[in-house]
Subunit: 402 residues, 2 copies
């Protein structure tokens, strides 16, 4: 009896149904409406974008979450319902109400999330027409079709589920996410939804979610942009029958650790599927003077267009990494700085070590490039995941609305 990955995404835990359908927001009949429902009352928590401009669904979900309970999550892709003023908030409430009515739930039990183009009104009539269908399709095997329906420029759905023993029972955690572009500090246009059958208090559920996001979605960056719609939600059905987790003991820490592991897995899938990305880089900063400086240095390198294009071209222009380190403004003595790529020492003693260019390029061609920046200035360390910047990224984003 130990933990194991399992299939089933958000419907892996007991007490959850999910579905996905096409409502007509997207063209080409690609699915654009997903629903997750807890079959019995559930505890809920959420985290949202730090962007000062928040989309209407974010404002509504925050409002509904105040009670720490919810039963349904309605997600649409293709339209962000952002920059839509009071009308946008009315539209979000209208579609949430339709779901509530159909499921015979109070309005505040329905959470909403949206992703897609900013500045356009939500096509409410189309969504209302699709609500009966998406409710009818709800199934305990509906995880995959709901994971498809939340995507925008992602190339494939991202889901995962974990199971582990807790007391005399086994408990489960499932999740799905979408990312692709705008993935960067503080959640980005990133949606992630988790379900669990663990019995846990709303306060501790929220605390575990924060811990998990801090160590996963906050550690990835695709383009340094931050969206208006980022939403992470979790519902806990309590159907596993464990002794309810109501204090920060062993059971809680185990739960938080598993949620972190699941979130990290989804985060990793997100960055690997970044818009136009062909490879992933782990930027590790060690021996910084402080966590703040480690963080600043890692972000500067991970978001540098010159570093990211170098990765795309598998070029050996590693001086760009050093230029980004210097540009970050953190404390660094050029003579002490060391840079390693996939374990090979490239920069030391204030200079780039003479190495055959072909050898360095071979390192850069790896599917995952591990860059270690050793500042040799203190004790703090951090790591970020990023992806390369390709012509594909530009192509996707130059014509996103068209």
């Amino acid at each position: 009896m130990s933990d194991r990955w399992m299939p089933g995404g958000v419907t892996a835990p007991q007490g959850f149904l999910a579905s996905g359908t096409w409502s007509g927001i997207k063209r080409n009949r690609r699915p654009d409406l997903a629903l997750i429902v807890a079959t019995t009352p559930a505890v809920a928590a959420g985290l949202f974008t730090m962007n000062r401009i928040k989309a209407a669904p974010v404002l509504l979900a925050q409002q509904h979450l105040r009670r720490g309970r919810a039963r349904a999550i309605l997600v649409n892709s293709g339209c962000a319902n952002c920059l839509t003023g009071r009308q946008g908030l009315r539209d979000a409430r209208t579609v949430a109400s339709a779901v509530a009515r159909q499921l015979a739930l109070p309005l505040h039990d329905v959470l909403v999330a949206s992703t897609g183009v900013i500045g356009r009104r939500l096509p409410v009539a189309r969504i209302l027409r699709a609500v009966p269908r998406v409710v009818q399709r709800l199934s305990a095997r509906g995880h995959r079709e709901s994971a498809w329906a939340i995507l925008t420029t992602d190339t494939h759905p991202k889901e995962a589920a974990l199971e582990w023993p807790l007391g005399r029972t086994r408990v489960r955690l499932g999740g799905m996410a979408k990312g692709a572009g705008m993935v960067a500090p503080h959640l980005a246009t990133m949606l992630a939804f988790f379900t669990t059958d663990v019995a846990i208090s709303a306060r501790l559920l929220r605390q575990a979610l924060q811990q998990a996001c801090e160590a996963s979605f906050h550690r990835i960056t695709v383009d340094g942009d931050m969206s208006t719609n980022d939403t992470v939600l979790i519902l806990a059905s309590g159907q596993a029958g464990n002794a309810p987790i109501t204090r920060a003991g062993v059971a809680f820490h185990q739960f938080a650790a598993h949620l972190t592991r699941l979130a990290a897995q989804l985060a990793h899938l997100l960055v690997r599927d970044g818009e136009g990305a062909t490879k992933v880089a782990a930027i590790r900063v060690i021996h910084a003077r402080s966590i703040r400086e480690a963080e600043r240095c890692a972000r500067q390198v991970a978001n540098s267009p010159l570093v990211k294009t170098m990765l795309a071209g598998s070029d050996d222009n590693v001086g760009r990494i050093v230029a980004a380190v210097g540009a970050s403004g953190v404390h660094v003595t050029p003579e002490r700085l060391r840079v390693l790529v996939n374990g090979r020492l490239i920069v030391a003693d204030g200079r780039q070590r003479p190495a055959p260019r072909a050898a360095v390029r071979a390192l850069m061609r790896a599917e995952t490039v591990h860059v270690t920046i050793d500042l040799r200035a203190g004790q703090a360390a951090t790591q970020l995941w990023t992806c390369d910047l390709t012509e594909g990224y530009v192509r996707l984003n130059a014509r996103y609305t068209t």
Copy 2:
């Protein structure tokens, strides 16, 4: 008698010679070595990258500038002589010495600057072989060939010169610059060289240079990266015969204003010739709570890959501008925010105004897109210039060393 633009670049002022040649650093016989020389003793000042990792030529030029005097500037393109340790500093000194010997000057009268790939040793032997030639080619009409020799991925040389009356004489200012990639806060991989025949003290020359850079090169951004080699130098020959400027009076302010005007002209040419750029955008933030917030907001928008790719595609996805404003963390009330594109109100009252998409796209197709972000939160304002992010940028930078 008033000010006028004139031809002649860095050799427009009296008392200056310039030249350019191919030394063999670059392939394809493209010029890579430039020399500017004052025919008589000159006052000098410089500004350098804020990057914590500074290239060897930057360290040497800073050292030689301590006296506030210099006679020659040797510039090479194709190799940054950065991350080259103590050897790099010796190499920079060796080529400077060769120029000093050839011109019969003390070593400290020769300043150096380099741009190109980081991490490779300066090809000293090739440069030493080319020094007699670049000295022999010195000419009072050599501005154009020296402006060619400092380029890297720029598509054309950038130079300008100004003349204005001062007392009973006319005085002149000339300049040339290179930029292209890595152009962003605090000078970027940007080299700029100015000459003037004004008689002025070293202290005031430096002060005027700082003012001019603050209002020009510091206000442009191509990709948010900052180079290890940024260098701006100015030599003043005093040959115009004006009463020397030794205090911050009218003559000084006039001089500083003209230097600012010239630097702004070169900065504008740099951003228009940004790597892969097809258009320029002026990002103006008004009614911010403070200059700091105006600045932070403008930088976030100007460096957002999503905004820059939207510009490239002339797309109407203006919500991305709002998302970047919100992501900057400055004080903004969504309902008060206004965004104008080329004078047309696009966002107001917390929502994107309904406008024909074709009309918005037509605005975006302009060669220069003027974006005004009205935060309506205070009195501060600022403006930045940026360019679009195209597949051409990625292509250039994925294969820069190859």
